[in-house]
């Protein structure tokens, strides 16, 4: 393992210290491993909190700022944050109008956020939760933990953040978050496994000529192993899987996301294939985003997210945002 680290046990804390140094407009709470919007809590605004295991940067700390999250909790690498930290983030975000928790559907995240929501409720802070479960690679059944939350998390955070910034009620902000999740589907393919600093070696063995089809953002498999295929074919697998689960309805927001170890050259190539396929199927790409946004450390691979947007979702997508990882209109 070759990584820019000092001590595997200090990676998250030291990365947050670096984020604070690079972005003085943010506040970092090192004890609870939180990233907080500089002017939080904003009086009267519904607060928005997300978080999860570290290693998916810029998700979530990179999306803290006006127009998006009020606070993000960074758990240990690939490990959900603890209830105390989520509660601290909730307090920091609460401007008196309650707080929305955006939670990716992983057992650990769900359990810890539930506990924190209960604790916040005991303190009189109203909490709503949006559970993100957009990964269509997982069969949603009573026999699995359900679909995972992946790329759509970014769209949920952006859209709810914009609505909250306008002063909408917590209930309405939660409702639009759930609508975005409902309208979004994602699918990922990995070419290599991620190496966590603590483990020091790749999380799974993937032969040079194989890919993991339907992988999660920690490397958990979804559908199958397959021989590596040309990008055009991989794009077709992704598009078909998503449209089969979430049939197209008009205009879309498309996120072609790198998992951390894939060059933009390849991501743009893949995006070109996706765009051509969607054009063939009469699906309009109203907005797009290509880059590394919801990563899995150094994993080579890509995920595709398609959100079937309506006018309101597009309007909120276009609203100004000022964060470390996403910035436009300001």
């Amino acid at each position: 393992m070759k990584k820019f680290i000092n001590d595997p046990g200090e990676v998250v804390a030291q990365a947050l210290a670096g984020l604070a140094a690079a972005h003085p407009e943010l506040r970092v709470d090192p004890d609870n491993q939180l990233v907080i919007r500089g002017d939080a809590p904003v009086r009267g605004k519904a607060g928005i909190v997300s978080g999860g295991g570290s290693g998916h940067e810029p998700l979530h700390g990179g999306f803290v700022g006006p127009g998006m999250l009020d606070a993000a909790c960074a758990g240990e690498v690939f490990t959900s944050p603890v209830p105390d930290a989520i509660l601290a983030a909730t307090r920091a975000a609460d401007g008196g109008a309650g707080v929305l928790h955006i939670v990716k559907n992983y057992t650990g995240d769900v359990l810890n956020f539930e506990m924190a929501a209960e604790l916040a409720g005991d303190e009189g802070i109203a909490v709503e939760t949006v559970l993100v479960d957009d990964d269509v690679a997982v069969r949603d059944s009573t026999w699995t933990a359900g679909r995972r939350g992946t790329g759509a998390t970014l769209i949920v955070e952006k859209v709810t953040g914009a609505l909250a910034e306008e002063g909408a009620s917590l209930k309405d902000v939660a409702a639009i978050g759930r609508a975005v999740n409902e309208r979004s589907g994602s699918f990922a393919v990995a070419l290599t496994a991620a190496t966590t600093p603590a483990a020091g070696r790749p999380g799974f063995d993937l032969p040079d000529d194989e890919m993991e089809v339907g992988v999660g953002i920690h490397g958990e498999p979804g559908r199958r192993r397959a021989k590596i295929a040309p990008a055009a074919e991989i794009a077709r697998v992704m598009v078909d899987a998503i449209l089969a689960a979430k049939p197209a309805q008009g205009r879309t927001i498309v996120l072609l996301n790198g998992l951390g170890g894939t060059p933009l050259l390849e991501l743009y190539l893949l995006y070109g294939e996706v765009a051509a396929l969607l054009a063939e199927r009469d699906v309009e790409i109203a907005r797009n985003l290509v880059g590394n946004y919801v990563t899995s450390l150094d994993m080579a691979g890509a995920s595709l997210t398609i959100c079937h947007a309506d006018d309101e979702i597009l309007r909120l997508w276009d609203a100004p945002v000022r964060t470390a990882g996403l910035r436009w209109g300001v």
Binding site: G108, T196, G216
Partner: protein, 193 residues
């Protein structure tokens, strides 16, 4: 079990978790995300610190403190699950000295807490698969039998298909790997023996 023995149990768990952290992480790498050993090691190290100098009047005090510390330090799924189990056990043991029967009731309460929070059924390839036979064996034949039962049950998870937690995403491919949660549960019961 008295307060001192409760402390010894927790210390023994901390020791074995530290010694076996790499094994747990390796098992978790195969079907999860490879953090189980590191997380439990970090959690029980924090428990050691929390119990050091902590004034415990009952057996339950020791276990409740252990559970609360796990919840507030571990994260992931194992933090809330083990944390709730120890807290549930602690709440039932309200005297400085408890009988084996009372300890059996407490272990049952711990199992119930895990099942309530995680929603796992026996056979789902989780820590429940080791807890269930361990508690039954403890009631019949005591701690040695419980440890053996947990270890056998943990090994038997190898043949199961995961239906809860991150391993469930593997579907049939989870078969052939021993469950890390059931394995750490076996360590907890071995430390009790």
């Amino acid at each position: 079990m008295n307060v001192e023995q409760a402390r010894e149990w927790i210390a023994a768990i901390a020791e074995t978790v530290e010694a076996e952290a790499e094994t747990l992480t390796r098992l978790d790498s195969a079907i999860g995300d490879g953090d189980h050993g590191a997380n439990l090691k970090r959690g029980f190290a924090a428990v050691r610190v929390a119990l050091d100098g902590f004034e415990a009047h009952t057996v339950g005090d020791v276990l409740t403190k252990t559970g609360a510390t796990l919840i507030s330090k571990v994260g992931g799924a194992s933090g809330p699950l083990y944390g709730s189990a120890f807290r549930a056990m602690g709440k039932t043991l309200t005297s400085p000295d408890v009988t084996t029967e009372q300890l059996g009731d407490a272990l049952d309460a711990g199992l119930a807490a895990i099942r309530k929070l995680g929603g796992a059924q026996p056979g789902d390839k989780t820590m429940v698969d080791a807890w269930l036979p361990a508690v039954a064996a403890f009631r019949r034949k005591g701690p040695q039998a419980a440890a053996t039962a947990a270890e056998e049950a943990a090994r038997a998870t190898t043949d199961l298909q995961a239906r809860k937690g991150r391993a469930s995403y593997l579907g049939e491919r989870s078969i052939g790997h021993q469950d890390p949660g059931a394995t750490s549960t076996a360590l907890i019961f071995r430390a009790l023996a």
